[in-house]
């Protein structure tokens, strides 16, 4: 009796979740993919391989991969400092981490342009360079790895580390053999989130990158210009390409994670 009620509850939950996901995610995504095929696969392929679209796509994927890697390392270090170190201003820092999420990305772009543009008070001018694209993406994706790693690190059993020490492991060995393997799943999923967020980024890059086609124009901006020139099928094709890359990235990281957890 109780069993079937539990199973029924699960079925209802599953139904609601699927309906919700369909309405919010699956159907819109399917519509994009469907739209991209309006003029057939040949047109699709031509749309994503026009020189400007291709340049935008490769720049976006390359910059996003780089940013994801930087996040992987820096995000983990920041999470570590926030959890393990005690210093004045720690809780302030902890709050600040989320601000990139709260700031409209166009404002972020404006601030970055003011700080690292031609009038930079720091004397660093990155305006209209690819470095500026990377910088903008780093800014908006900062919280992902920090916020996925932090709770895992908080929950990590300190006695595991002490056991490792009493078994003869030095601090570095303990980190590599005990702490890191326990953090890797969170690090990877944070990285995946940062990567997928970065390839779709629009607002923050618009101002500081200058949108120079073939040089600093990112895919989302390219898509926008396609829509403006009434080429919605082309825009859908580039979007679909981005979706495919994101999907591959998510699946790769998932496989890596499973493989890692099996190997231990």
């Amino acid at each position: 009796m109780t069993r079937s009620r539990v199973a029924g509850g699960t079925a209802a939950g599953l139904g609601i979740a699927m309906l919700y996901l369909s309405l919010i995610v699956l159907i819109p995504l399917a519509a994009v993919v469907w739209r991209s095929m309006d003029e057939g696969p040949g047109y699709f392929w031509r749309s994503i391989t026009t020189p400007d679209a291709w340049a935008a796509l490769t720049l976006t994927i390359g910059a996003s991969a780089l940013v994801a890697l930087i996040n992987l390392v820096m995000g983990t270090i920041i999470a570590w400092v926030l959890v393990r170190d005690r210093f004045p201003g720690r809780s302030v820092l902890d709050t600040i981490i989320d601000l990139p999420f709260a700031l409209p990305t166009i404002v972020a772009g404006l601030v970055l342009l003011a700080l690292y543009g031609p009038q930079s008070p720091l004397g660093i001018n990155l305006a209209y360079t690819r470095a500026a694209v990377v910088l903008a993406l780093m800014f908006v994706t900062l919280p992902f790895v920090v916020r996925t790693v932090q709770p895992v690190l908080l929950e990590l059993d300190k006695e595991m580390e002490q056991a490792a020490a009493s078994l003869g492991a030095g601090p570095f060995q303990t980190f590599r053999r005990i702490i890191l393997p326990n953090l890797i799943p969170a690090m990877l999923s944070g990285t995946a989130l940062a990567f997928t967020r970065a390839i779709a980024e629009f607002g923050s890059t618009v101002l500081i990158s200058g949108n120079l086609p073939f040089k600093t124009q990112v895919a989302a901006v390219n898509i926008f210009s396609q829509i403006e020139s009434d080429n919605t099928t082309g825009a859908a094709a580039i979007s679909t390409a981005l979706l495919a890359v994101a999907l591959v990235a998510l699946i790769t990281l998932d496989v890596l994670q499973r493989w890692g957890s099996r190997r231990g």
């Binding site: 059993d157 006695e159 595991m160 002490q162 056991a163 490792a164 020490a165 009493s166 078994l167 003869g168 492991a169 030095g170 060995q173 053999r177 005990i178 393997p181 326990n182 957890s261 231990g264």
Partner: protein, 320 residues
């Protein structure tokens, strides 16, 4: 001496947790650190292992001053109350950990780990992850892991604390047998006096951060240093202003020399033993007798009897 702790003091903030603690642990012995919760047992064990630094005092391990030595250099096996299993490693790799750190050859590691797993009866579960083990199995894995590096001393913090009574009893006897086989100097923490008496060669009673008494289980049970220890180590009752073990009291129906008249208030049969509750001059006491004795006396509630400590009974005067 395998372990010598000298005048160790340790405070957390303003609260002193260990006060002038000194203990000696003989090589090859099995010593119990016994005491009430919050008495500082874990802290003392962690000071010995180097997981906690004493404020003052010294710790010698095998005659070498280890006070400032990092835990990884002490060659001390530590088993945590909650196992501290490496969740991401299999049972085999958990046990192999210390040997891998020491860069022993693969074949040697394999052989030693399998030996240990056999010793703790986990050889069939070598490929499982800790989450797939029961509490008792995890505990034995933690023990094998600590033994793998052939520590000079083995420290166990409430090794059976988180297990149910049945498994506890089994592991207790098993630990004793294991110790007789492996002979590594072992200190284990417990707040269960029965466990300490049954398993240990030597008991150190720690309360309020101070060593109250040390001795063999017999000594501590029979000659407790103070009423606290006497109460902590076994059942007690009070007659004539003295603390006495309830099995050290005799009951008779006729007046006896040195006896006090008492009124039986309740007779509780607990299987083999019978608990006779009496009232002596307005305050309550109880006597433990066997079923045979109770039958022979044939007493019931309301009867007047005479009680006195048996000749040679250990008793402690209570300061009023």
């Amino acid at each position: 001496m395998a372990i010598e702790v000298r005048d160790v003091n340790k405070s957390f903030g303003a609260t002193p947790v260990l006060r002038d603690v000194s203990i000696d642990v003989a090589a090859g012995s099995l010593t119990a650190l016994l005491g009430p919760s919050g008495g500082g047992k874990s802290t003392l064990l962690r000071v010995i292992a180097g997981l906690e630094q004493p404020d003052t005092g010294t710790v010698l391990i095998s005659g070498v001053d280890a006070t400032r030595l990092a835990p990884q250099r002490r060659n001390v096996g530590f088993v945590f109350q909650h196992y501290a299993a490496f969740k991401h490693l299999t049972v085999f790799r958990n046990v192999a950990f210390g040997l891998e750190i020491r860069k022993r050859p693969k074949a040697e590691i394999r052989k030693r780990v399998m030996e240990l797993l056999e010793l703790v009866h986990l050889e069939k579960l070598a490929d499982r992850y800790p989450s797939q083990l029961s509490g008792g199995q995890r505990q034995r894995m933690a023990l094998a892991r600590a033994l793998a590096v052939e520590p000079q001393v083995l420290l166990l913090d409430e090794p059976f604390g988180a297990l149910d009574a049945q498994v506890r009893k089994e592991l207790r006897t098993w630990l004793r047998r294991l110790h007789d086989e492996v002979h590594v100097t072992t200190v284990f923490v417990t707040h269960d006096q029965e466990e300490a008496i049954e398993v240990a060669d030597e008991i150190v009673v720690l309360a309020g951060g101070e060593v109250v008494q040390t001795g063999t289980p017999g000594e501590v049970y029979d000659n407790p240093a103070n009423p606290f220890v006497m109460r902590f180590l076994g059942p007690v009752t009070e007659i004539g202003g003295n603390l006495v073990r309830p099995h050290d009291i005799e009951i008779s129906q006729d007046p006896v020399e040195g006896g006090s008249p008492a009124v039986v208030s309740r007779v509780v049969r607990l299987g083999f033993e019978v608990r006779v509750e009496v009232e002596i001059g307005g305050h309550e006491a109880w006597v433990q007798v066997t079923r045979d004795q109770a039958d022979r006396l044939g007493i019931g509630p309301g009867d007047t009897v005479h009680v006195r400590p048996v000749p040679g009974a250990r008793s402690l005067a209570l300061a009023v």
